[in-house]
Amino acid sequence: MPETNETAQPETLVSVRDLSLDFDTLSGPLHALRNVTLALPKGRITGLVGESGCGKSTLAYSLIGLLPGNASIVGGEIAMDGLDLAHLRASEWRKLRGTRIAMIFQDPMTSLNPVTTVGQQMLDIQYRDRSSRAEKRAKAVEFLEQVQIPDPESKLDVYPHQLSGGMRQRVCIAMALLTQPDLLIADEPTTALDATLEMQIVDLLKELQGKFGCSVLFVSHHLGTVAELCDDVAVMYAGEVVERGTARQIFHDPAHPYTQALFECDPGRIREATRELPTIPGTLPDLRRPPRGCAFRARCPHAWPRCADEHPPLYLRDEGHDARCHLLDETEAVA
């Protein structure tokens, strides 16, 4: 089912091509990302879903250069305005962070500096601006207002531990937006919050993204939230992106058996308040020795011999919708 309103391809902000990343571990390299290819369009929200351990955070952190010390990018590139983010020096990263790329983290309780006031932290991140202290303060108040924090002026002198979890995450969002980034990365920003707060934060993110027009990469376990918030969705499995498409395409016409298993073939269930991904029988393959063929083969109800031998490429399902599954191979269908 082609989308008439999505035929005009939006411009791409960040283009991840064939990105492979290893973690150096005691028992050898762990291939956490394998040939990840993903485009983040300008001004849209891209959801990244998948089971725990499939590499969502690793991909998110590689987009802001905050990978752990034992990570090394072994192939591919991350293109953004002529820069290759996969091979940036530390000093070049520092110029991008807090100017063009910002990030919101999972745990608002520990993401703010506990020994500095909220206001001081909001001033600190404006250290590049030449404006006066009063102007920076005014800007901080303005953005606390944007995230609907009551009485923002007084919150400047408050320490993080004096705020609730929801309020702290709002402060984090305010700080991220204050830097006016082109790309906002959010790694499970609502997982640590309860359901009501989660909806509030998601609504807020949607509203503010519309207002500021930045691109967002939204990592989440919660399919309902992704359906609510995201324009596009990428599904990851065992270090690979196994399906990409618009939210509509993914939720109404999931092509990969893994995606189908996630939804349990029932799109109606997605909007229910299931906060965690449904559990699929079986476990993730060992990323130190990824299987030769399709990574999902062992858990796939439709697996056939070809899946064991041949690694599936991204087959086109539809305009802007593709998936790594041999079932989609049209030449097979003909045979």
């Binding site: 910002a102 520990t110 020994v115």
Partner: protein, 312 residues
């Protein structure tokens, strides 16, 4: 902050009072009559009775305690058994020597320890980190008096660079007399502080707010200062505050070895002469200073970390 400081001050006074009560009680629990102990075995019964009355030992214990507190509040710590001079004057004559020795020891060892600890944490597994680690463990396990003996032997006797005995006269002479004792007392603390700062730095460096600061592109130096160090020095500050007690006992040995005047030397000679009022007075003042040091370190931590202010 002010409220917190007030609370802590009241608590400190209570602690000192309890400590004083225990001390006084201990004087009574010790077998034998304090008057007999002071006067020696050859004293006549009349003299003993006289002394008992003079010391107020004939009154009931609670009264004695109250009198004692009252006297302390008036700055009266009793008299020297032999010379009759006020104990408070004797103690406060000696106190500055020890205070200077301890303060200088703390300052140089804390400064160097924090520097080395921070550097080891930031440059983990470099040769300096390894060297600091080895030296820390080495110096921690050597007692201050051994360090003092070797310091005297090497730098004073053998090389002859620094004076070995006394406190010196005048500013520069005083400083040259301070170097060896302050080195002997402080060197183990460099190791302690470096170890503890390194460990807590490594812990704080892994905290999410540090990663968040990086995500905003804050300069590393600023992250180190206001995100990492400000939290990571707290255990070291607490350690130094409680460590003042250990420094006093180290000072006892070091003052004797260097023949320096000071509280330590005073206590040692008073104990030898069974000059109990002086022992009691000196211990009392020391206790007060130790409690004060703990109070100061708690206040510094509270000043660094708002979460500590609300803990009480």
């Amino acid at each position: 902050m002010l409220y917190y400081a007030g609370q802590r001050l009241v608590l400190s006074v209570v602690i000192v009072m309890v400590a004083v009560s225990i001390l006084t009680l201990m004087m009574h629990v010790v077998p034998g009559d304090p008057a007999v102990m002071i006067l020696g075995p050859r004293a006549t019964p009349e003299l003993i009775e006289q002394t008992r009355v003079a010391m107020g030992l004939d009154k009931p214990l609670p009264i004695q305690l109250l009198t004692f507190f009252g006297n302390i509040l008036r700055g009266d710590l009793g008299q020297d058994v032999f010379t009759g001079r006020p104990v408070s004057r004797i103690v406060f004559e000696q106190l500055p020597y020890t205070l200077i020795l301890i303060s200088v020891s703390i300052l140089w060892s804390a400064a160097l320890g924090i520097l080395l600890g921070a550097y080891s944490a930031l440059r983990r597994n470099t040769w300096l980190d390894t060297l600091t680690g080895i030296l820390s463990v080495g110096t921690i396990s050597i007692p201050a008096f051994v360090m003092a003996l070797y310091a005297v032997l090497i730098f004073a006797v053998w090389l002859g660079w620094l004076p070995a005995i006394g406190a010196g006269r005048g500013f520069w002479d005083g400083i040259s007399h301070l170097i060896l004792p302050a080195f002997a007392i402080g060197v183990a603390w460099v190791g302690y502080v470096a170890r503890i700062v390194r460990a807590s730095m490594l812990e704080v460096m892994g905290e999410p707010h540090v990663r968040m600061a990086r995500a905003f592109g804050l300069p590393e130096r600023r992250i180190t200062r206001s995100h990492i160090l400000k939290i990571a020095v707290q255990p070291a500050v607490t350690l130094l505050g409680t460590g003042v007690a250990h420094l006093f006992s180290a000072a006892v040995f070091v003052e004797v070895i260097f023949a320096r005047p000071g509280i330590g030397a005073l206590i040692v000679s008073a104990v030898n002469e069974r000059n109990y009022p002086i022992v009691l007075g000196a211990v009392l003042v020391t206790t007060g200073i130790i409690v004060l040091a703990t109070l100061i370190s708690d206040l510094v931590v509270a000043w660094l970390d708002p979460r500590q202010r609300e803990g009480m």
